[in-house]
Each structure stands twice: as structure tokens, then as C-alpha cells.
Symmetry: C6
Subunit: 266 residues, 6 copies
């Protein structure tokens, strides 16, 4: 099977935050495109992996960036001994053979990337490969999911109306404290006390968002910090190396963050 390498065979650990599994399931049953919105490191990518496993479909993930071209998604000609040969890009593979195509941080991409998904995301469900002179009808299993972080998306980089209005949207945030501490314990091997403490630390950092920090500490950062403790580092050093130093270079914000953290460490 062409996309077997993209199948997820073991269940990716995922703690639901709300009804996101129901919404995605309904959208997939109608093959409607889905847009995941939320901050850095809150679990959007993990959610898509979980849904692909749950639905039993291959998952092709592409990290978008501003130098990505339509050809990076759709495909291109490569020179082989017999001449130029067409190679499907990841989007074409997903459309042709059936699977979930996940475009991570889509707003980073240029408009030619976002336009290339239009005919796949309306009633036509086709992918015209102009350079290959082919119209690929989407496989019955094909679905498109994209994600972006509304927090640092500038006006310049916002999606066009004609793109936005094609998607069912799901909002993500940081998980509720008890869920987040469960996730941290599970993913970092931290005990329950440490996990709870790390969530409290994260809350302090998230309160500084908009007051010197662009974003607070993500669940990912808390897991990393928990793992540094497990690897033998003292808690203070782990928090400093895993949360305070990476998140800002500003000495004043570092001090404020360090104070806020100190206040909640026993």
C-alpha cells in the first residue's frame, strides 16, 4: 500500500480537552477540511496523530514555512536517466492514495501554497496538477487538516477569506490543570507532586503573557523540565534551563518570571 509508511500503528497518548474528538470525527465523516487553532506546544500535532490512529488512516504531515512552494506540496519533475519523471508531493500522495494531510502552521506559507488546496477543499475535491497536465480526483479517504497559532499571526500573514471559509475550526488552549498534570506525569515520568507543581509554574508564566512574554510556558516545556529532573538535575536548575532561559532573553522579564516561580515552589 503506497502510504503504509504513514500509518500510525500504536495509539498516540492523548487527553481530550473538550469535544474536539467528536467534531473532528463528524468533519472527517463528511470529509470536510479542519483547521486547528491554538498556542505553541498545546497538543495540536498530537491530536491529529491520535485522530489518524483512531480513524485508521495514514497521516502525512508537512511543516509549512514561508519558502515553501506549491511544488513542495503538489510535486515536481526530477531528472532521471529516461528523462524527467514526475514525483508526487505529499499533498498529492494523500489525495491520490487516501489519507489525512496535515499542514502545520499554514499561515507561514505563501499564498501559492494556500491556493493549491482550494479545489481539494470544495465540492470539486480535485487536485489539478497543471505542470503534470493531470487532474487528480481525491481518494475517498482523503481529508485535509491545517493548524495555526492565532497568537502571533500578523495581519499580513492571515489566511485569505476564500481560504478560511473552507474549514471547520477547532479551538485549542492549554489543558485544564488536572489534565495537564496527568499529561506531564505520563510524558515525563514526573511524580504527581512535581507534575502539579510544574502546572502551577506554567500558570504563573501564562499570567505574564502580554506583560513581557509573547506566550507562556507550553505543556511541552513542562514535560521537558520534568525529564531534566528525572535525568538528575535539581528542580531549580531544571526550571531555569527548561523554562526561564528559553522563553526570554530580557533580564527584567527573567527576574519577574523567576520571582513568580519561586513564590509557588515549596
Amino acid at each position: 500500500m503506497p502510504l503504509d509508511a504513514y500509518r500510525i500503528n500504536t495509539e498516540p497518548y492523548y487527553e481530550p480537552q473538550d469535544t474536539e474528538i467528536d467534531i473532528f470525527t463528524a468533519a472527517y465523516s463528511e470529509r470536510l477540511p479542519v483547521m486547528l487553532k491554538g498556542p505553541t506546544g498545546c497538543g495540536k500535532t498530537r491530536f491529529v496523530e491520535h485522530m489518524a490512529w483512531r480513524l485508521g488512516k495514514p497521516l502525512i504531515t508537512v511543516a509549512a514555512h514561508e519558502d515553501m512552494t506549491a511544488a513542495d506540496l503538489a510535486g515536481r519533475y526530477l531528472l532521471e536517466p529516461s528523462g524527467t519523471v514526475w514525483h508526487d508531493g505529499p499533498l498529492t500522495q494523500a489525495a491520490r492514495h487516501g489519507g489525512i494531510c496535515y499542514l502545520d502552521e499554514i499561515v507561514e506559507a505563501r499564498q501559492d501554497t494556500t491556493v493549491v488546496i482550494h479545489p481539494l477543499t470544495d465540492a470539486r475535491r480535485i487536485l489539478p496538477l497543471e505542470k503534470h497536465n493531470e487532474i487528480v480526483p481525491a481518494h475517498a479517504d482523503f481529508q485535509l487538516t491545517i493548524s495555526y497559532n492565532p497568537g502571533y499571526q500578523s495581519a499580513v500573514k492571515d489566511l485569505k477569506e476564500s481560504t478560511k471559509q473552507r474549514f471547520i475550526a477547532i479551538d485549542f488552549g492549554y489543558p485544564p490543570p488536572s489534565t495537564e498534570s496527568t499529561i506531564i506525569a505520563r510524558e515525563s515520568g514526573a511524580d504527581s507532586d512535581l507534575a502539579t507543581l510544574l502546572v502551577r509554574i506554567a500558570e504563573r508564566s501564562r499570567n505574564l503573557q502580554g506583560h513581557g512574554l509573547d506566550e507562556g510556558a507550553s505543556t511541552r516545556m513542562l514535560i521537558h523540565t520534568g525529564r531534566m529532573v528525572r535525568a538528575g538535575l535539581p528542580l531549580a536548575a531544571a526550571v531555569r534551563a527548561g523554562i526561564v532561559l528559553p522563553i526570554t532573553d530580557n533580564p527584567d522579564i527573567r527576574a519577574a518570571l523567576t520571582d513568580a516561580i519561586a513564590a509557588c515552589v515549596p
Copy 2:
């Protein structure tokens, strides 16, 4: 037949808004180029598909974007074992073999794309392929249709006068309420009550246009929402995922939109 893959064999569902079918038919009978203007997701693409089916002509659709080059329309040389070989682009195919070429969102393209259509859209009806050293006379069936959304076209991206003045123009808007609810029922499987309600919701969102929203909810969004309900999601969740969340990230506008919607849901 070279363009058989581009023929539309079953009638695409289309509810006329006004005299647009007459105007397009007259323009096609004179092979005059046509320009469709209107907001996102109001049915321009479906209209062209319907007209191509009605006139029995192949339809070649190209989604324009700012990185599209003249070669993407006209054609290019590819390296094959016997050397470089010319491959017609979609515009050249339509011109050479006869069909309707539809350039979607043409204002997104750079000027070299719009200039390439000039000799095809005046009395000459030719396509000079300078790189191929060939002048392609347009097939008797060839016609060019373009579309754009005047709502978010900046001064920078406006068409040049020498391009604009080549086209017969048709204006599109959202369909009248009864037409729109017929379309929603037909396309989403929603019953008549739900379809009517969705149109009322759309009207509320369209009233917010210019007051925080760039555009109101399109017919497409209403159809998506109807399908989410059909797939088992509660109405409120479907409206939130299908209309409110995709259309804006601004919390205040989201609240205003949610209130406006709540007021019209029984």
C-alpha cells in the same frame, strides 16, 4: 479528444440569481471574455461549471496566485530523453483545442500572467508562444472567463485598465434567501427548517461585515454547517465549528457574532 478529461458530464446543480445565464450565453456566442465579480463562496466557480456543461464545452480551471508565472499558463520546455520538449500549459490547451479557460482569482496573479491573455482577448484571438516560436490561433470554441473578489482587492492588485476593458462583467452576490435555503437543503441534506435558519444566521454575520468581519458567512459555510449537523453534531456546536470559529479569531467579534446568532435560533 484532447480535452475530454475536462468535459463535465453531469449537470452541476446551480440556482440562477438573476440574468447571469443569459449574459454569459450571449458573451460566449460572441466569444467575448467574461469577468465574474463577487464575494467568497457565493457560487462563481459553480456557475462556470454549470455554463460549461450547458454549452457542452470543456472547462479548464486555473487558480491564480501571486507566484504564478506566464509559463504556468502558456507552457514550458521539459527535459526528455530526446532533449527539451514543449508542454502546453492550461491556457494554451484551451486555446489550441477549444474550451472555456477559467482563471480563478485573477487579481492574485502578477502582471505577466494578465498580459499573456491580451492577444487572446481582442480581435486577434491568438496566443503567441514566444519561447516556442509559435502563434496559436484560438480554436473556434475557445473562450476566457476570469473571476475576482472586489471586496478585498487592494489598489496595488487591481487589474490594469488595458486588461479590464477587454471583459464583459457579471456581478455576483449572495443568493436571495429563498434561493440560498434551497441551495443549502440540496447541497447539505439539511431539512427546510434548518436551511432557513442557517440563512438567517448568515444574514446576521453579513450585517457584521465592515464592523469587524471582512466578509460574512458564505453559502459554502452554511452548507458545511448543515453537513456537520447531518453528521450528528448538535446545532450549536456545528454553528460554532462551521461559522463562528473559522471566520474570526477576535474574541469580541466572536462574542458579537455568537450573540447575533443566538438571537435567531429558536
Copy 3:
């Protein structure tokens, strides 16, 4: 003969506005380069076609645009089984084999395009092909004609002095009313009353130039509108689709233009 495909065998219909035929004839007899200035759709391209037919010379037309490179005019190497092979561009073909080369909307091109014509437009009458290591002496029949629209040429895009001063210039405007109505009747099949009415409508639109419109309705637009009437559309609908809607998206200007037109329709 190499340029036979570029010969014009039937007389292109052309109504002279002034002494432009004499001036072009004199310039061609001296092989001096000619520059045609005037608004969109007033007949510059048709005039060059007419002169090429009248002088019995091939006509190679190139529509200039801002992405056009010197190689698009002069030529380039293409990969063939025997290695790279030089292919003359349209300017080189005209210079080598003798013919009129017409560069439409030259101010759109970048400076490298305009510089490439310099040695062909002074006493040297040569085209140095640096990449091909060849100096092409212009054929005795070669002449260069360019056109541009001074109406929307920005300071940035103006021709350099060293380019301008190489050309004999001819000014074009809209034809006098009786000439224009003759042209419309001839080209659209409209009867004399309709043609006269369309000219009156055009005059109204041209009065709005600089008061909301960048340019008034061109002769081309009037011909299109006449053809829409011939194809069976009512006059009001044809004027709206052929003149009012294409020329502006501004509701106020559309209303003003519609009123102005209504005042002159019987």
C-alpha cells in the same frame, strides 16, 4: 521564408485619425524607430497591423510585462540531444530576417529589455547577442515600433531619456465621433443609430475620467457592447455588462456613470 507566419495577408480594417499613416510611412522609409502613445483600446495595435500589411512586411508582436527579460526578446539556449542550442527570440528574428517588431506597452518592461534595443535603434543597427557571441546586423527591412499609454505611466516606469530620444513619436486619442461610430458599426455589426448612441455613451464616461475613472470607455468596449446587443441582449443589460461593470467596482462611480448614460439613451 522564415517570417512567413508573421505576414498579414488580408487588410486589417483601420480608419485613420490624422496623418499617422504618413508619419509611419516616412519613418519606415528611413527605418527610424517609432513610438505610439495613447490610451487603452484606441487602436494602436490595429494601426501597426494595418501598416505592416500596407508595407508588406512581417509583424512580430511582443506584449511587454515587468517579468520579461532581455532573453525573452533576444533569445536563449535550450537543451537538445546534441547539447544546448541557441534559439532566436522575437526581436532577433525580426532583426535577422527583416520585419517590424512591435513591443506593446514597453514601459511595463524592466530596463534590461529597453537597453537591449539600443544598438538596434541608432546608427549601428546591430543586435549584439552577448550570450551567443554574435553580432546580428539588422536586415534592411527591420524596423522597431513600441507603444505605451502615458495615462497611467508612473515616474518610476517612465522610459529613460537615452531610450526616448531614439524614437519618432505618434500620438493617438479616441477617434472623432463620426469615425468612431463608423468603426463600431463595422466591427460590431451595430446599426448606425446604435453606433452613434454608443459613442455618446463613451463620451459621458470619458468626461468622468479623472473624476473617479482612470480611463473612459475605449472603442473596444463599445464594440463589445454592440456585439452583446447583436447577440440578443437588451441594450441596458449590454451597456451594464459591457461598460459599467467592467470599468469600476466603486458603487458611487457606477451610479454616476449609470445616470450619465441614462441621460443620453432615448
Copy 4:
């Protein structure tokens, strides 16, 4: 002989303005690079052709432009059946085989073009071809001449000090009236009265320089106008087509120029 195609076999007509022939001769005898400064169409190119003929050396002329790359001067690899083969550019040909290389309007070029000439224009007299892994010692006959028009050279496009200081400079202006009328008579076939009148007309236009005109009429324009008269056009029409219309699109400046000219026509 490799550069025979670049030899000038008949004396190019040239009327000296001042001691420019002596200065160029002295510079060439020392093989010092020369920079010609002056307005459009005043005879700089003709002067270099004359000097190349007088010194009996081949002349390779390159018109600089802002898209010209160092490779356009130095050379590049081309793909041939036996693999990539190096092809000398025009500067390399002149340096390798001996001749005058004339870079016209050098300030138009980007810095990589001007930097490539540095080692050829100091005591080293070498041309390093980094991509070809070769150091070409300049032939004993090699000399470099460049030109530019200080009149419209912006600060941005000025030559770097390290480039300027490598050149002997010669200033050009419009020729004195009697010389200019001799040139016009010789080049256009105009009789002495017409030539004298054309010079008077040119003086009027040159008085408008800085008062609406970027530059006055060049000697080239006067010759063109004389040739239009010889071809049968009335004087007024020839002056309008050859001087007034090409030089400006501004109606007020055109009127002022027309009045100034009328005042000196008998």
C-alpha cells in the same frame, strides 16, 4: 583572428569637440581605462567607434543594465554534448585576445559588474575567472572604456570611489553650433539651412532643461528630424514627431516647447 568580427573597417564619421582624441590616444598608449561622461545622444558611442578605428583595434561594446551579472561580462558554462563548456564573455574576449571593451551606461549595472573590472584596471591587468579557475592576463592591446550620463545618475547608482579612481575621464557635451549643424547635414542629408535651423530648435529645447525637461533634444533627435524631412514630411510635422512628442508627455511643457520652436522657425 578571434576578434575580427569586432574590427571597424570604415572610418566612422566623427567631428571632434575638443582635445578628446588626444586624451584618449594618450590614455590608450598607457592602456589606462577611460570614462566618458555626457548627456544622451551627444556622440560618446560614435567617439569610441572612431577611436577604435583610428587605433586599429577591435571594439567590443556591451550595454550595461541593472540585471546584467558578472557572468554576462566574464563568461559562463554552457551544457554541450561533452559536458559543460566554458564560454568567454565579452570582457574576457577583449582581455584575452586584445581589444577595446566599451561598457555603455555602466552606472546602470550592479556592483558585481563594476567589481569584476577592478583587477583589469589596476597594475595587475588580470581577469580572475573564479568559476573557470583561471587568471587571464590582459592582452597587450586590451583597454577598457566606460560611459555614463551624470545628468540622471542618482546617488544610489553612483560609481564607488574605488571604481571611479581607476579611470581617466573625458567630458562630453552637445557640440558647438557650427559643428552640430555640420554633423546634422552629414548624417541626415539635410541642407545647410535646415541643419542650422534644427540646431537653433535644439538650443531652445536645451534651455528648457531643468524647467520641465530632463534633457534637451540630442544631436541624434535632430538627425532623425532631418531624415523625416528628407523622407517627405513637412518640417512642422517632422519637428513635432521627431522632437516635441518623444521628449515629453506633459501638455504644458509640450506647449512651451512648441512655442519656443515656433519662435525660431522662419
Copy 5:
């Protein structure tokens, strides 16, 4: 072994400043990505070399710059007799065969470079090679380290939140005086007095940071100066050539720096 050329066989000399060896060791044991922050020439690169030697892993170093593309990291196709062949880039080599990949001055790179490392730096630990149609799972030994200098990182060039939050961070500064003089003596062969004096000189220059100097003299500069003395240059000349002249061209700052230095030389 594929990466044997990248193994470090002799211990790179390194004087610890703080607990950086413990933090890196813990992060490596968890294979967490590490970010080194600190000024120019303070020993970040040497530290990574030391850690690679200490952990017995190959070290692949890439100096980031603004023209570096994702392909420079991930790999590209090259044309070989049998057609195009894929060549792993340095990041792919480290991920595939196991080793520490060190991206020096990562903020210099464009976003496509930083995005390419995302799937390698979260729970997935994969490197999708879209162009090669392959997903490379990271080798068990693979770890990623990046560095940057917060001192002259502009807002434009800051790392994205979604990148930052993936890293454990370690701060570097100039070493404490006794450590720095030990390093200088060891690396330059300077005696203890000279080394101590050079550290005192550096402190003076570092006091000028923000008062005319962007950065003070680095440890590297002191070592260079010590080596110039060892090579026979008088101390004053060595300090001038090794510290004063390279660090600034501003005459006033040079004078201030020279005075500050003079005050501490015996």
C-alpha cells in the same frame, strides 16, 4: 562508520564556567535539544566540541546564515550519470547515523531552516524529507544543539515561540578572570602575567560595551593578542593590532579604548 570523520579523538581543552556540563549531560541523556546563548568568542563552539568528545559522539557543525536553505540542512538531488541522486545534508546525516548536530548562530537562518528542525525536536523525533519522499526516524544517538548571540539579535530575527519552546537553554558569558587567564595562558602560550594583564584589558573594553562598542573584547581576541606577542611583536603593537583596531573604526572610541588600556598596563 558513516560519521567517523566527525568524531573528535583528542580532548578539546575546556574550562567549565558553571554547571553547563551537567545540564548538557542531562539534556543529552534525555536527547532534549539544547540552545546555547552568549556573546561572540566566549567558548560556545569549544564547549560543544568538548561535550561531543566527552559523550563520544560525532559532531556535525553547520554555520547558519541568512541565505541557508532547508535543503542545505536536509539534502538535495544531484545529477549523476544514472540520473538524479539524493545526497543527505548535514542534519539528515546526523539524524540518520546518530550524532550531535550543532547549528551555530541559528537566528541568522531563515524560517524554513528553523521549521525543518521541528519534527526532530519533539516527541516524533523524525525528519520528513518531502523531496525524497522519506521519513527518517532519528538515530538513538541523535541530538540537536543550536547557539545564538542574544546581544545583537534584532526583533526581526528572533526565534519563533514554537521553535524556542523546544529547547533546554544554557547561558554563557565571559569566563571569570582567573578562568579566563588560565585559558589565555593555555591557548596562546602567554605567561601568567601577560594573561592576567590581557584579562584586565578585556574588562576595560567590556565596560565600554553599550558606550560605543557593540561588544567588548572576546576571549578569542585575548588569545590572538597573546600569540602576536609570542610571535615577537611588542605588547602595545599586539594589543593595538589584536584588540583596538579590529573592534572599532570610530576614532573617539579607539582613543577611549586606548586610554582605558594604557591605564592598566604597567
Copy 6:
């Protein structure tokens, strides 16, 4: 020997200004990179040639410019009959086979060029060729010298701190009058009186630096002027063509400069 073409076999004439020969000799003995700073045409290039001859090492000179890429220094693949073959660039040749690599006007280059020299200019002394998958250890004879002119280096184009701090710096200025007149006499064949006069003229022009002139007349200009006199031109004409006209186009500055010069000519 691979770099024999780059050896300098006869002593390049050089008059020392200060202790620059000692500093360079010491830096070379430690293989420390050297940066030469000074105005246009003051002898930096000649100095490097002299040092290469004195040290008996090959000298590979590269003139940096803003379009130079890292590949222009490091090397690239070229297509040959047997497929793509790697060709060392000039920096790689110097590093691999041993020699002085001189990068002239390095600040003109983009950052990717300056970053490529980093690993060659610290303790590593290696050149990683990422595209060739090779780490080239520098030959024992390899040394890097760069030059730039601080006079017209903008803030934008300044070297990065992390580049600057790798170099030993030597300042150059115009030579003292007696040295400069010795150089002029030697290089131009001027007699002692003329050489002395030319130095006096240069001093006048250098006094105008910052008062209308970006830089005064360089030693190179004086030599050129001397050679024009030797070639038979009168002194006034030679000074005008060799100094006044090349250095500025501003009529007022030309007048001031001409007056200043006249005052010191006997």
C-alpha cells in the same frame, strides 16, 4: 603544484608606511587572519602581493561583491560527461593546497560569504563543504587576509562582531609625502619635481574630503596622471582628466578643486 599559477615570482614594488610588514609577518607566523583597513587606492592590494612574495606563498585574490555567494568562495558542482563533478572555489583551493587567500572589500559581500570563513579563522582551521560532504583541514601554509574601506562602510554593511573579532587589524592611510612621491616617480616614470607636485595636488584634494568629496585623490590617481604626462599630455590637461573629472561631477566641487590645484602649480 596546484597553486603555482598563483605564485608571485618577481618582487612587487612596495614602500612600507609603518610597521605593517612586521605585524603581517607575526600574524602569518601564527597563521592568524589579518584585516587591512584603509581608503581606496592607498596600496592595500600591493601590500598583500608584496607579503605573499616575501613569504614565498601563493596568493589567491577574490574581489568581493554583494552578489557573491558562499559557493563562489567554497566551490560548486558542475555537470560533466560523467555527471556532476565538484570544483573547489578559490577559498577551498587556498585552504586545501596552502596559500594566502585575499578577500578584497569583504564588507561588500553578503553574510553567507563572511560566515563561510568562520571555521577557517578559529582554532578549528577547517572548511566544512556541506554540499560536498567534506571537511577540509586547512593546509599548514593557509592564511586568510581581508580588506575593507571604513570610509564608506555603512552600518548595514558593517562586519558582524563574530567576524571582526577573528582578525588582527592593520590600518592603512595615504603614504607620507616623501614616500608617496617616491612611489609616483617609480610607478609613473615622472621626474622628482612632477611627483612632488602631484603629491601637493593630492593633499589639496584630500583637504576637500568631507567638504564635497567622499575621498581625496588616491596614490593610484597620481600615478595615472603622471603616466598621462609621460604619454605627452600637458600637465593641466592630465590633472583635469586624471584627477578632477573622475573624482566628482559636481560643478562647484570641480571649481573648488581646480582652484585649489591651480594654487599649487608653479
